[in-house]
Amino acid sequence: MFLLSPPALTLLVFFFVPLVIMASYTVREGTFGVASRTFSLDSFRTLTENPGFLRLLKDSMVLSLQTSFFAILLAYPVAYFLVFHAGKRRMSLLTLLIVPAWTSYLLRILAWKLILGSNGVLNYTLLNLGWIDEGVPIFLYSRTAVLITLVYVWVPFAALPIFSSLERIQRHLLEAASDLGAKPWESFLRVTLPLSFPGILAAFFFVSIPTVGEWVTPTLVGGVDGIMYGNLIQDQFSRALNWPMGALLSMVLLVIVLVAVMVFNRFVNITEVGAYG
């Protein structure tokens, strides 16, 4: 299979092998700097003895679920409107919503920092409207700020798979529901919503996987409260320099994501999750 060997080999060497080596690093002794070759279960001990790690993991998972939930909640109605009410312009209108997401990721986060800060645009507006008396950093440097920013970043990407799953619903099915006596609201609950479920699930993965490992947004707008599991990993490699610990934390995250993907792979085609990039 001569066509296949170059890509297969590349992915093997630079994707599969690194993950295996990383797994082997989890059982090495942590030194200040690059790991030594000594076998050690220190990292596992640290992980189990330190509830802080697992709490942060749980917090990050919750935050990632929240982000997916709100992104889908905001995106679903717009996808629904575009598919069922926007006629021929729906593709252009959809593209218009994606355009902001094509600008620099870091700078979009920066924009939210400018909006949410104590001298920020939100405070300024509220002050001028007379709704508040003094500038307080309402949201910045908090978990909420991270959530708002992440939802902002991911809404357009949640809209894509939902849009395409709604587009795939045959109009005849909705007519059939109405014909059989279902009022519009019932048609939606009994036909449209279940049939768009694969899109919702794809959107869920599309949003939750990158956000669960997110560390840049928490660093920029999260403050102390907003630290996430991704920060912990990054920290082991850039400041704490405990590579085995970082490798273990990465492996834990990887296993969780892979298990989730495998469980839901029955319902959603993972190639579809990526088909919107």
Partner: protein
Amino acid sequence: MAEARVAARWAGAGYYALLALFLYMPIFLLIVFSFNDSVILAFPLKGFTLEWYHELLQAEELLASIKNSLLVGFLASAVSLALGTLAAIAIMRFRFRGRDTFLSFASLPLVIPYVVLGVALLILFSALGIDLYLWTVAIGHVVINVPYVMLIVAARLAGFQANLEEAAMDLGATYWVTLTKVTLPLSAPALVAAFLSSFTTSFDEFTLAFFLAGTQNTLPVYLYSQLRFPSRLPLAVSLAAVVMVVSILILLLSEWLRRIGAGASKTKGIK
């Protein structure tokens, strides 16, 4: 009944407008600040200036990082395009043992948090004693882009009939001639779209670059280092405005090509 439909349409349009406002407002804000005559990025605005754009042209470190990003982007996209196209042709045109396994394996980078991949590659390069440089970033970007290229090109290949290729071979073309004279030209719009999509991903990618760039800066890595200094922010913001306009133009072009590429027939999922 008709009235209810009209009402639903207006409610939907209103919601769309609100969401669009939510999505565009922060970007609009950055553009406004890029013309603001003040070091502090806050309201009230102080006056109009082009100073930041002027300074942009003289910020050498910044320009160097842009050059690095372009280099990494081109390198990573070219390699991703070649590898992803080969994979797409293989999975769409041949039924081989392990095809589904390969497809799942090759799609895995789509569902791996970048921080995990970045760390894993960092460990690999360190274990092999390879110094981090721009090309190590490019390798990371190849890994994340190959699945995208594969899926985009495969969607195009699904869009035209395999019997066009069979016809070519029937007319006496060898496999290689068929590939270069029929398959690839027919996929050309998808190839361009896949390249542009890889390029923009690579150009804006931060996490992998952060772990794998060593002492070099790509543009996002440089920007990240600047975000900690408030006095540098206006510069970053004016850069944002420029990058924004350029990447929107590139992506509109790639979207347009993808639509041509997918043709009138709908893009099918790969089962």
